[in-house]
Every structure is written in C-alpha cells, then in structure tokens.
C-alpha cells in the first residue's frame, strides 16, 4: 500500500506522462478495485459490499463463530453509505482510464486526465485504508488470544521477540489509561520479586532504594508526623530527652547570666546562705579536669582501653569497671529497664557514662564539665563504634588485640580539658564572680584542705589499726599546718617507733612532717596483762592448721611447746611473742620439723597400684610420725601426668590416694586421720614441664592439725 502512495506522489510531481505511466495507473486502480470490496459490476449485487472479504477470510479463520459474523455485518451496514461513495469513485476512475485507452489520446490530454484522476485515487486509497483496518481488526479481535496461544506454542522465542518490541509501549499506554488495574495485576508479585532479587544480588536493592530512603522518610514525616514519631521514639527517645534536658539547663544558665542588679543582689544573698547556684558558678570559674577514661565491654565489664591522666591518683580500673558494670546492669534490671545509667556523682567527682552497642565509655571528671565536653565524648564514642565495632564485639580480654585507633581517639578527650567560661559573659557576671570569689575561694580552699586532712587522718588511723601489735592502743592522728601529729600512749619505745614508721609513708606521700607525740609509758607490766596477751596470741596462732602450741609464762620467760608444721610460721610466732612487753626470753620446745611433706609416693603410668617394695620406707616413716603425733592429720593430695584425659587422670588420682590410705590404715592408722583429697585433679600444666612424666605421678601428704585436737 505504501508503494502505491509513493507512485502516486511521483505522478503528481511529474506532469509529463507517457503511455507506460498510463499503464501503471490503470494497473494500480485495478489492483485497488480488486482488493477492495467493490462488486463485480456484472454478477454481484451491490447490497453485499463486504461479501468478498468475508469469503476470502473464511478459509483462514475457519473458527470464526456465527454470532461474531452477525456482529460484524451489523457494523458494516452502518458504514455502507461511505462505501457506496467509494464505489462510485472507483467506477468513475476506471471509466476514465478506459476512455483514455480507447481514444488513443495524445500525451497532453493524457496528462490532463491523469491529473484529474489523482484526487480520485487518493480518496479511494484513503477509504480502503480506513475501512479494511477496521474490518480486519473487527474480524480478528475475538480470536486473537487463541491465535497468540497457538503461535506461542509453535515458536515461543519468535513470539517473545515480536511482543517484546511493543511491550514497554503497551504497558505505558495501559498505565496511562487504566492505572488501577495494572497496579492490581502487579502488586502480589512485587514482594516476591524483591526477595528473589535480594537472593541474587544482596547489594542491588539497598543500592537502588538507599538514595530514595531519605526522601521517602521526609515525605512520610510531612504527611504523617505522629505515626513516624511513635515508630522512632523507642530508638531515639532517650537520646532526645537527654539532649533536651541539657538544652534546658543550658538555657537556664544563660538566663541566670543576664540578670538585673537587683536579681544579682538577691542571688548573692541566697548564695551567701549556701544555696547551690553559687557552687555552680564557682565550679564553672574553676573549670573541670579529666581524671581517667575507660572504654568498657558492656557485658563482662572488662576494660577494653583506659587512659589515666598522669599526676592523678591511679585508679584500680578493673575493679572500678566491674563494679560500674554491675551497677549499670542492676539499674537496668531493677529500676528502668531499657534505659541506661548516664551519670554517677560522688563528691567533687562525676562519672559520665555513654553507652553504645557492645561497649560504654566512662569518663571520670572533677568539677562540672561543660556541655560541649559531653557532646564531644558522644562524638568520640560514635567514631570509635563506627570504626572498631568488630574488634569491640569480639574482645576476649586480651588487650594486645585492641586496635590502636581507639586509644588515639580517646586521647582527644584529654586535650583541652581546662575550659574556662566564655569571655563574652557580661561584666556583671564577672563582678558577681569576683565578689563570690572573695567569699567562697578562701572558704572553698579551707574546706578543701579540711577534707584532705580528714582523709589523711582516716588513712593513718586505718594503717595503725591494721598493725596487730598496735591495734589495741588508742592512737590519734591529726593533720595540722603541714604536720601529721600522732598522740597516744603505748607501753614501750618499740611500739612508739613502729607507729612512726607506719605513718612515715603516708606523711611522705602527702608532704607532711611527722610529729610523733606518742608517749611510751614504761608501765610496770601487770602480769595479768601479759598473760592475757600471751593467751590471745596463742589462740590466734592455733587457728592455723599447721600450728598446735601451748604456752606457759614465768616472769620474763615464755615456754612454747607443741607442734608447728612449717618453718616460716615458727619464725613469725617467735617474733610476735617477743613484742609483748614483759617477755624477755622465749624457749621453744617444739617437736622437730615434720619431714612428711617431702615424702612422695610415685606410681606407674595408668596404674593406681602401690608398689610396697619401693615405698616401704616412706610409708613406714609416715606411719611413725603419725603415731608420734596423735594430733597430726594428713591430707592426701595427688598429682598426675599429662597423659590421658581429664576424666582418666581424675579417677587415677582418686584411686592412688585411696591405695595409699588403705596401706596406712592397714598399718594401724585411723582412717579418720587420713583425708583423701584427690577428688579434683591437679592440672599438669602447673607442673615443671621439664620433669619426667613418672615424676609427675605421685601422692604427697599435707599435714594439719584439726581445731578439736589442739
């Protein structure tokens, strides 16, 4: 059809025509007429204009149903008028062409005629285009789905290729015309297809959606603010409320700074009476000081990183972190679950706590840190968590594994910690501070000194009390004008000096001079006092399992009888009694050191059988000792080698002790005096690794004297 149009426009452009052209035109019109629904003028009645097409379509579309034919006929009837006009047009055209041929006209006439024909042909063509498209569509529509189905079965790739080309445009069209139904059609599969895509390429979906998320949230906040607030509150609520409290405090303090003279006067009076606002400003003018920073594992309370400022008293960070963690988890469990403790305040000190993920930061500060500092701690912790969260999460107690970056970040917090309040404060405020300073600085300094002094006095008293020989005397340490003065009475110069040496250390640490005002009253010792003290010490020593002694005192001489199972205890017994005034000589009357502790009974690998031949002498020696000292009991303790499992060694140890015990009982020793303490195993790792295995398998004896045998 396109070709026909092309020829026609050629014709109209070239006015010069020859007979060949004329032939072409004639052919063309005939083709048009033949294809068209025009009746054969001789045989067919013009009342059935479409029968030609219907007939020719039928063999191909033999599944056409009868009612669709009816429908089609009704539709075509409506168009019959315009078809009639087309028929007329076509007939005229044919006649004209035939006329030209028969008269054999000259070329000029021919051209004229053709020129007259052109509008006719164009009209005819247009009609054919309009009419036949409608007709074809009308005919094909009812069977299109089946056509497509069959065709798809035959050659689906081709079909797909064919449809693919128009699919985007088709969908676009449909969305424009009927957006709702498209949405309904696709909706159920969207979730599934996203899930599939995530499986295929986990990053793609976040990458695609990410940039839009911000916009989406923003839009959602605009349209449904309350719902968004509700959704987000559990996450950021506490952070915001914390922040708000600080903002309000900040505003308050700003308001306080811009006061009228009257207001300041009133405030001043309030402060003179000791109200806290004064302290606030005072502290602000004093600044704050960071003492230590700890990054702590939230669950275990172990320290991940610590910074202690040199010059401050060193803190036992591990215990502190442990207790802090316990307090935090207690508070979380029992007081406010879900929220976190964020400040511990004690005296001049504060512990700021910031929690994040698997760890928390504890900053110990003196004074009142400004808000900017608190903000900074949050930022630093944020950075640490962002960069090192993996290392923190996997922390296993080994400080060597902690990334260096954490320390450098924490150190930022110690840098500018001597903040002064901004210099932009109004002059009035400075005046106020000056006046307050006149009042409070001396007061503050003296109260600070008093507190320090009190602390030193307490520490001294505790130290004195901790020395057993001094604990019975009342000694009174006081701090005054650079001196540590100690008063009291003790029976002799030895104890006086002893007290001094104990206090020396404390005095040096605090740069104080010692003023020893203890009086050594050389009381003529009352025998009662001496025997009382001797009895006290005797009982004290007898509480130890290696000691069973009796003491008797004649003026100046003390006799000690009994058993002391090890050498060092024997020495300390001597020293302790020597210090009792009134004792000048001590006579030891102790049985010889027990050599039992050195006896070891060795065993064969994997066996608990006691080899009597080898161990006869040892067993006998033990037996004799036990018979000599009826109060002595023995604990049997086994060691094992590294061969075999825990369980095997555990059993072996138990059985080895049992066979030693049996051997001794068979020799007349009461079973009750032998305690098999082999029901846990001695970890072989603790033994000297260079030793031979057989040297690791033994049972040894630990003598002791039960309290009811003393």
């Amino acid at each position: 059809m396109n070709e026909g149009c092309q020829n026609l426009s050629d014709l109209s452009n070239h006015k010069k025509l020859n007979s060949a052209n004329l032939e072409q035109i004639k052919d063309l019109i005939e083709i048009l007429v033949d294809e068209e629904t025009l009746p054969d003028t001789d045989s067919e009645s013009p009342s059935k204009p479409n029968s030609n097409l219907s007939r020719s379509a039928q063999p191909d579309l033999n599944f056409l149903e009868s009612d669709s034919i009816n429908q089609k006929e009704m539709a075509t009837e409506q168009e019959s008028k315009s078809e009639e006009a087309a028929k007329l047009l076509a007939l005229t055209a044919i006649e004209e062409v035939q006329g030209i041929e028969t008269e054999k006209a000259i070329p000029e006439d021919l051209a004229d005629t053709v020129n007259n024909l052109i509008p006719l042909i164009v009209g005819l063509l247009e009609f054919k285009l309009d009419n036949s498209r409608e007709g074809i569509i009308e005919t094909v529509r009812p069977v299109l789905d089946r056509l497509i189905a069959e065709r798809t079965l035959e050659d689906s790739p081709k079909m797909a290729a064919a449809i693919a080309r128009i699919l985007p445009a088709a969908i676009e069209d449909e969305i424009r015309l009927n957006p709702l139904s498209i949405a309904r059609a696709i909706a159920p599969e969207i979730a599934l297809s996203i899930r599939e895509q995530i499986l295929l390429d986990a990053d793609a979906i976040p990458k695609t959606l990410g940039p839009e998320m911000g916009k989406a949230i923003k839009a959602q906040i605009e349209s449904e603010r309350d719902a968004m607030v509700d959704a987000l509150y559990p996450v950021i609520g506490s952070t915001i409320s914390k922040y708000m409290v600080e903002v309000v405090q900040d505003i308050n303090s700003k308001i306080e700074r811009t006061l009228s003279p009257e207001g300041i006067k009133r405030k001043f009076r309030a402060k003179v009476q000791g109200i806290s606002e004064a302290e606030l400003i005072f502290q602000e003018s004093v600044g704050y000081r960071v003492r230590a920073i700890f990054l702590i594992d939230k669950d275990s309370g172990l320290i991940i990183q610590e910074i202690q400022i040199p010059g401050e008293r060193h803190l036992d960070s591990e215990m502190l972190a442990g207790m802090l963690t316990a307090i935090c988890s207690f508070a979380n469990d029992c007081i406010a679950s879900g929220s976190e403790l964020d400040l511990v305040d004690y005296g001049d000190w504060q512990i700021l706590l910031e929690v994040a993920g698997y760890c928390y930061l504890a900053v110990i500060v003196a004074g009142e840190p400004p808000r900017a500092f608190i903000t900074k701690t949050r930022q630093v912790l944020g950075k640490i968590v962002m960069e090192h969260d993996k290392a923190i999460q996997n922390f296993n107690g080994n400080l060597a594994d902690v990334p260096l970056g954490i320390k450098t970040k924490l150190e930022q917090l110690t840098e500018t910690n001597q903040n002064k309040p901004q210099s932009s404060s109004p002059i009035l405020l400075w005046l106020l501070i000056f006046v307050l300073g006149l009042v409070f600085v001396p007061w503050g300094i003296s109260s600070y000194r008093a507190r320090i002094a009190h602390r030193i006095e307490q520490a001294s008293a505790i130290q004195l009390d901790a020395a057993p020989e001094l604990s019975v005397y009342r000694l009174d340490p006081t701090v005054k004008q650079g001196k540590l003065i100690v008063r009291g009475r003790v029976p002799d110069n030895y104890l006086r000096d002893r007290a001094e040496t104990i206090l020396q250390e404390i005095a040096e640490k605090n740069q104080l001079e010692i003023d020893n005002q203890i009086v050594a009253v050389n009381v003529p010792v009352s025998p009662n006092l001496v025997t009382g003290e001797i009895q006290r010490l005797t009982n004290l020593f007898n509480q130890q399992p290696q000691v069973s002694i009796q003491t008797s005192y004649q003026p100046k001489t003390l006799n000690i009888n009994g058993l002391v199972l090890d050498k060092s205890t024997r020495q300390s017994i001597g020293q302790a009694f020597q210090q009792i005034p009134g004792i000048e000589q001590i006579v030891f009357n102790l049985s010889e050191q027990l050599s039992i502790a050195k006896q070891r009974i060795y065993f064969k690998s994997g066996s608990s059988e006691l080899n009597f031949a080898d161990n006869f002498a040892k067993i006998n020696a033990v037996k004799q000792l036990l018979q000599q000292h009826p109060q002595v009991h023995l604990q049997l303790v086994a060691s094992n080698d590294t061969i075999g499992s825990y369980l095997i060694n555990y059993k072996l140890n138990y059985e080895r002790c049992q066979s030693v015990k049996t051997a001794l009982v068979a020799r007349g020793i009461q079973a009750a005096r032998l305690i098999n303490n082999c029901n846990s195993i001695r970890s072989a790792n603790n033994q000297d690794p260079s030793r031979a295995d057989w040297l690791k398998r033994y049972v040894r004896f630990e003598p002791f004297i039960p309290s009811n045998f003393k």
Binding site: D297, K298, D299, S300, G301, L302, I303, D316, E318, M319, G322, M323, A326, S329, F330, N332, D333, N396, G397, N398, L399, A400, P545, Q635, Y646, L647, Y650, A671, A672, R673, L674, I675, N676, N677, N679, S680, I681, R682, S683, N685, N686, D688, P689, F704, P706
Partner: protein
C-alpha cells in the same frame, strides 16, 4: 608472656560460702561471721600459669554474686560476658547440692562456651570418712566443660588455690596458628 583479663562468676545458694572462698583466695583470711552479699562484689587477682611454652598471666576479675534464696533468684545479667564460673554448694546442706545443676544450666544458658568448676564447700564440717561417699554423688563430669569437682573449705583453705589455678589454666587462650 601474655596477660589477659577474664571475668569469672561465683554462683550458688545463699550462705554456701562464695564470699568466704573469694576472701580465702585473695586475702587468705576466713571469718565465722556471716555477712550476706548484696548485689555483687568484684575483686581481682593475678594468677600466673606456666605451660610448656611460656608463662601466662591471667587477671581474674571475680564477681561474687548474691546467693539465691527461695524468694530471690540470681540476676542473669550479672553473668553476661563471664568466661567461667565457680558453682558452689554447701556439703552440710544437701538442698544446696541438688541445686547445683540448676546453676550450671543458668550459667550455660547465658555463656554456652563457659567453663565451670564445681566447689563442694565446707568440707571441714564433714567427717573425712563420709566425705568421699558424699562427693561421689555429685560427680558432674558427664557435663562437658566442667573443669572439675573440688571439695573445698574456706575455713582451712583446702583445694581453693588449686581450683582457681585450674580455672586459670583452661582460660589460657588457644595459641594462634
């Protein structure tokens, strides 16, 4: 020489002697007075363990927890992050011994990889001839990750050092390849 820090918890019924065990281990002291622990008491001791290859320092942070009573159970959050625990029973009170497995379970619920030592305490109160029999009933070796069962006495100091040493030994980190 390497140093690592590890958290270790003591748990068991009230008055079985948890605090006394820790006190004996750290200060080598004992008192007959009973002062019930409230909440937690954290203490610390550095333990050295020699192996064939090197000496390890293990810094034990010992959490002595409040014992549970009929009315109050142990707060699980105190157990978090502990690499090991000592479960304590009182040999003179059989109910505290039958509760041992319950404590074991609680601990493992929170620290599935945790190591456990079982201390059957107050061994000094039990006549030696009865001790072995009594102890036999509470062999918990069929549990994995039980380091051992120890008949301890905070009063005499028996087996305590040993127990802590064994725990420290199993806490030595595996050598990295």
């Amino acid at each position: 020489m390497s140093t690592i820090t590890q958290k270790i918890c003591l748990l068991g019924d009230f008055s079985v002697g948890k605090t006394s065990l820790v006190r004996r281990f750290i200060e080598d002291k004992f008192s007959d007075r009973y002062l019930s622990t409230v909440g937690v008491k954290v203490s610390r001791k550095l333990v050295e363990v020699k192996t064939e290859i090197e000496t390890h320092q293990i810094n034990l942070l010992i959490w002595d927890l409040e014992g549970n009573t009929k009315f109050k159970s142990i707060a699980p959050s105190y157990l978090k992050g502990a690499s090991s625990s000592i479960i304590v029973g009182d040999l003179s009170r059989s109910d505290t011994l039958s509760n041992l497995t319950q404590h074991l379970r609680l601990f493992w619920e929170i620290n599935p990889q945790g190591q456990v030592a079982v201390a059957l305490n107050k061994a000094d109160l039990i006549p030696p001839e009865k001790l072995a029999k009594l102890v036999e009933n509470y062999q918990l070796d069929n549990f994995p990750r039980v380091i051992g069962v120890y008949t301890t006495s905070a009063k005499t100091g028996d087996r305590i050092e040993q127990m802590f040493e064994d725990i420290a030994t199993v806490l030595i980190p595996a050598r990295k390849p």
